[in-house]
């Protein structure tokens, strides 16, 4: 890929983010005029608002959404719309927590094995939708959405019967020995929750990139995404590929769950009746990255950045709900304007015609 082409791809993304931010500013003006400017500045400076600690937290928040973004973009590439992020994420998170608490090992196996179990769990859960699609032609969007709820209630039930902490209505915290190592990062980014999870996610991004662009399986997966009929005609096993795609996608998302709850921040799964937001945030991450696994690294860091910025906004008396709305507005507006920018040529054409006509009438 030459430089000009790359620039042509990146420019619209930056533009979209800008439009998203401006729209966010507009919402700030509506909700709290006096502090809107300060609030907006905080979001703009995002991760840097909190100094070095903020930067560390950007990477911390980016980690789980990066894994989910990877899983979802892989699915998108294959033409499989895996909206099952929240379900696969929470299954992964639960299995990681469960084994982190109950495994009798010592040493690095205490956190490596839980990640592997989380991957298997996410994969198995996602493969249900894959099998339904391959053999019974069930729409993946619908089956994964429904499986999200089943996963959520299943995990709530399992937590209550295994690793429940009734005082907090959460799962028991992961013991220190099972937490992801921080490898000196806690000194570099003092006070933040960053850990090696971020680098694990980056490694998976690179692996996914290699899988998609350098291997036969990747060639098949992307071909199936572009044109399932031709792929079948060319002799590719489209049923197997659909299931395989869901398995890899689910494994990546499951690992995302593990990296979130094994982090040293000590956050554990709440027993609540709502779907994991990280599972959905992977969608704009994938869209912003044009489903490119390497792009997912950048777009997830962007999301981590505004999440941290939103966190610091609370100091200007913006309630957390408003902060969430602002972040959602920026995210979804970015994704939406991306759609627009992809069709920019057409829009310019229509507008120029319209104005020509107007000028002609005068």
């Amino acid at each position: 890929m030459n430089g000009k082409k790359t620039l042509k791809q990146i420019l619209p993304i930056l533009l979209c983010i800008l439009v998203g931010l401006l729209f966010g500013f507009f919402v700030l003006l509506l909700t709290n005029r006096e502090e809107a400017f300060n609030g907006f500045r905080t979001i703009l400076f995002g991760g840097f608002s909190g100094g070095i600690r903020g930067v560390g937290n950007v990477l911390y928040y980016a980690t789980p959404v990066m894994m989910v973004g990877l899983g979802i973009s892989l699915g998108f590439k294959a033409g499989v719309f895996n909206i099952g992020g929240p379900g696969q994420f929470v299954i992964g998170g639960f299995l990681a927590t469960y084994f982190a608490i109950n495994l009798p090992f010592e040493g690095p196996m205490r956190w490596i094995l839980p990640i592997i179990f989380a991957a298997v769990g996410g994969a198995v859960w996602a493969s249900i939708a894959g099998i339904l699609k391959a053999y019974f032609k069930v729409n993946v969007i619908i089956s994964t959405i429904l499986l999200n709820y089943i996963a959520m209630y299943l995990v709530n039930y399992m937590i209550k019967h295994t690793i429940y902490d009734s005082s907090t209505n959460k799962a028991l915290p992961v013991p220190k020995a099972s937490q992801l190592p921080t490898a000196g990062l806690e000194k570099l980014f003092e006070g933040s929750s960053v850990n090696i999870g971020f680098f694990i996610a980056v490694i998976f991004a690179v692996i996914t990139y290699i899988l998609l662009t350098k291997t036969n399986k990747g060639y098949e997966i992307v071909a199936t995404g572009f044109n399932p009929n031709a792929s079948k005609y060319l002799g590719m096993n489209e049923k197997f590929n659909t299931i395989l795609t869901m398995i890899i996608s689910g494994a990546l998302i499951g690992i995302g769950g593990a990296l979130m709850y094994l982090a040293s921040s000590g956050k554990s799964i709440s027993v609540v009746d709502s779907l994991a937001a990280e599972g959905f945030n992977g969608i704009p991450v994938a869209l912003l990255a044009f489903n490119n696994p390497l792009g997912v690294i950048l777009s997830s860091v962007f999301i981590g950045y505004i999440t941290v910025g939103g966190f610091y906004m609370q100091s200007y008396r913006f309630v957390p709900e408003i902060v969430d709305i602002i972040i959602a507005v920026i995210l979804y507006f970015s994704a939406f304007s991306l759609l627009i920018s992809q069709n920019l040529d057409k829009i310019v054409l229509v507008l120029s015609r319209f104005f020509k006509k107007k000028a002609g009438e005068k």
Binding site: T215, N216, Y219, A223, N227, A230, Y233, G235, M236
Partner: protein, 510 residues
């Protein structure tokens, strides 16, 4: 009164950087049949879409009956009395003929549709123009030829004065074609002005009064049909001399490489057999052609042989191996190559590059992969070689996306890929559909070369001209059955037409 009913003068239309029409002029006289002749991509459809208001010209103007008009959409076109029979009919399949005709211009009585006046008018028109159509027949149950008449009636019912026929004979049997041409002549005698789009010179010769020839977006010439030969018009259309004749070695059939026996395929949606007791064999060194009208089981037959649809019973034997229950990949690598009928749907991955498409049946072999990883160096070299060998042209190199290429060159990629497989059996399903005359010649030569090299070629074609030019043996498929077998030298288009329309059938010895 103005001499011309339609004048499109100096029309230029750009799509991005591509000049689809360059200073094109078309003048149609009152009551004439004006043929519009040109290869695919010459700009015929673009010109008509401008006349019909679906595109607006960048330059030039349109006069209708001497008055300059701006046509902003199909509704404007209809208001000016322009009607069009599209190549693909725009009918509601489960409505009756009458309902289809009045759709959009219904008479209403107390808020309900009142058909009594419409029925009279339709019957009257049908008789006047010899269309012989039953207004109460359901469209899905009548033949394509009849459906076309419904389209014609739709235009007449709306009192259109200018009738456009876009490649109207493509879906018809020879008998239906001659009936249609008579109807068109009748319409012109009644004072309708007709634009007849075609690339079939014989038909233009038969009905056309004058003919405008388009080539590469330019109007080359408007000539009086009667004063010019078919050869002259063909030359003007293509821009060079083309020969009708392709050199072919004498027929020397060898062993049966592909044998299909008692093949039946049941379609649960249609509730009937779409393939019915099919038996035939293709020997090495011969081209067997399955002729027939579109939709009589041709697609299903290919799907069965290639394995795309395996809901059949019977037996398919390839080069001595029973492949009846084998996978698509197995058939691909054990000797079936196939040029699919829909190259965009089945043949190519449009968002992939030339290189990626050229290897799409071989990417998994040791030639192009090692431990599951792609061998890029070998793939590049292979693509470069193939591009040269098959003269595949694009605006860039082997990394050009296939969707940015012309139809003829896309087809070359498929042909290159399939021929490179070196399979004993080559299935070619409508291999020249949508290609221009030059490209058609290239594809047909390639098929003959394969035959001469001893391959078994199974050709599916709806163009009788092509059938006669290429085949060594003709099988006629009608409603999923083979109803006749012919030697092309000993039969005629008229005879085949009787079998294709189901009017006659023969009992074949197995």
């Amino acid at each position: 009164m103005n001499e011309y009913i339609i004048e499109m003068k100096n029309i230029t239309k750009n799509f991005g950087r591509i000049k689809a029409l360059d200073n094109v002029t078309l003048q149609v006289k009152h009551g004439e049949i004006h043929a519009l002749l040109g290869e695919n991509g010459a700009g015929k459809s673009t010109l008509m879409s401008i006349l019909f208001g679906m595109n607006s010209p960048d330059e030039g103007h349109i006069k209708i009956e001497g008055i300059e008009r701006k046509i902003q959409g199909p509704k404007d076109a209809t208001d000016y009395g322009i009607g069009m029979v599209h190549q693909h009919f725009q009918l509601v399949k489960n409505f009756t003929v009458l309902e289809n005709i009045i759709l959009g211009v219904e008479d209403k009585k107390h808020g309900l549709v009142d058909t009594s006046r419409a029925r009279e008018k339709v019957i009257d028109l049908s008789e006047r123009y010899g269309l012989h159509i039953n207004p109460d027949a359901v469209v899905s149950e009548i033949s394509l030829g009849m459906q076309q008449r419904v389209e014609i009636l739709k235009m007449l019912y709306r009192d259109n004065k200018i009738l456009i026929f876009d490649e109207p004979t493509a879906v018809l049997t020879p008998q239906e074609i001659s009936e249609l041409l008579n109807i068109i002549k009748g319409l012109s005698n009644e004072g309708k002005s007709i634009i007849f789009i075609s690339h079939k010179l014989k038909e233009i010769k038969e009905v056309g009064d004058r003919c405008t020839i388009l080539r590469k977006g330019k109007s080359i010439e408007t000539l009086t049909v009667i004063e010019n030969s078919q050869e002259k018009m063909a030359e003007l259309m293509v821009g060079r001399k083309i020969s009708d004749y392709i050199d072919k070695k004498p027929l020397m059939p060898g062993e049966a490489m592909l044998k299909v026996s008692s093949l039946n395929m049941f379609d649960k949606y249609q509730g009937k057999n779409v393939l019915n007791n099919i038996n035939f064999a293709v020997h090495s060194g011969e081209i067997v052609c399955i002729a027939g009208i579109d939709g009589n089981g041709q697609s299903e037959l290919i799907q069965a042989i290639t394995g795309m649809n395996q809901n059949y019973d019977g037996e398919i034997v390839l080069n001595g191996i029973d492949i009846t229950t084998k996978s698509i990949r197995y058939r691909n690598i054990h000797g079936i190559s196939c040029i699919p009928e829909d190259r965009h749907k089945d043949g190519l991955i449009l968002d992939y590059s030339i290189e990626q498409n050229l290897v799409s049946k071989k990417y998994f072999t040791n030639l192009f992969s090692k431990h599951g990883f792609i061998r890029f160096t070998e793939r590049h070299a292979f693509a470069k070689k193939m591009i040269q060998r098959f003269d595949i042209r694009s605006s860039g190199d082997e990394n050009t996306l296939v969707k940015e290429m012309s139809g003829g060159n896309q087809q070359k990629i498929i042909i290159a890929r399939e021929i490179d497989m070196d399979s004993p059996v080559l299935i070619a399903a409508q291999p020249t559909r949508g290609l221009d005359v030059g490209a058609i010649e290239g594809v047909q030569k390639q098929l003959i070369r394969q035959r001469d090299m001893g391959k078994s070629v199974l050709l599916i074609s709806f163009e009788l001209e092509e059938v006669f030019r290429l085949s060594d043996r003709i099988l006629i498929l009608y409603e999923g059955e083979i109803v006749g077998e012919f030697n092309p030298v000993k039969t005629s288009a008229e005879e085949l037409g009787l079998y294709m329309s189901g009017a006659k059938r023969m009992v074949r010895s197995k």
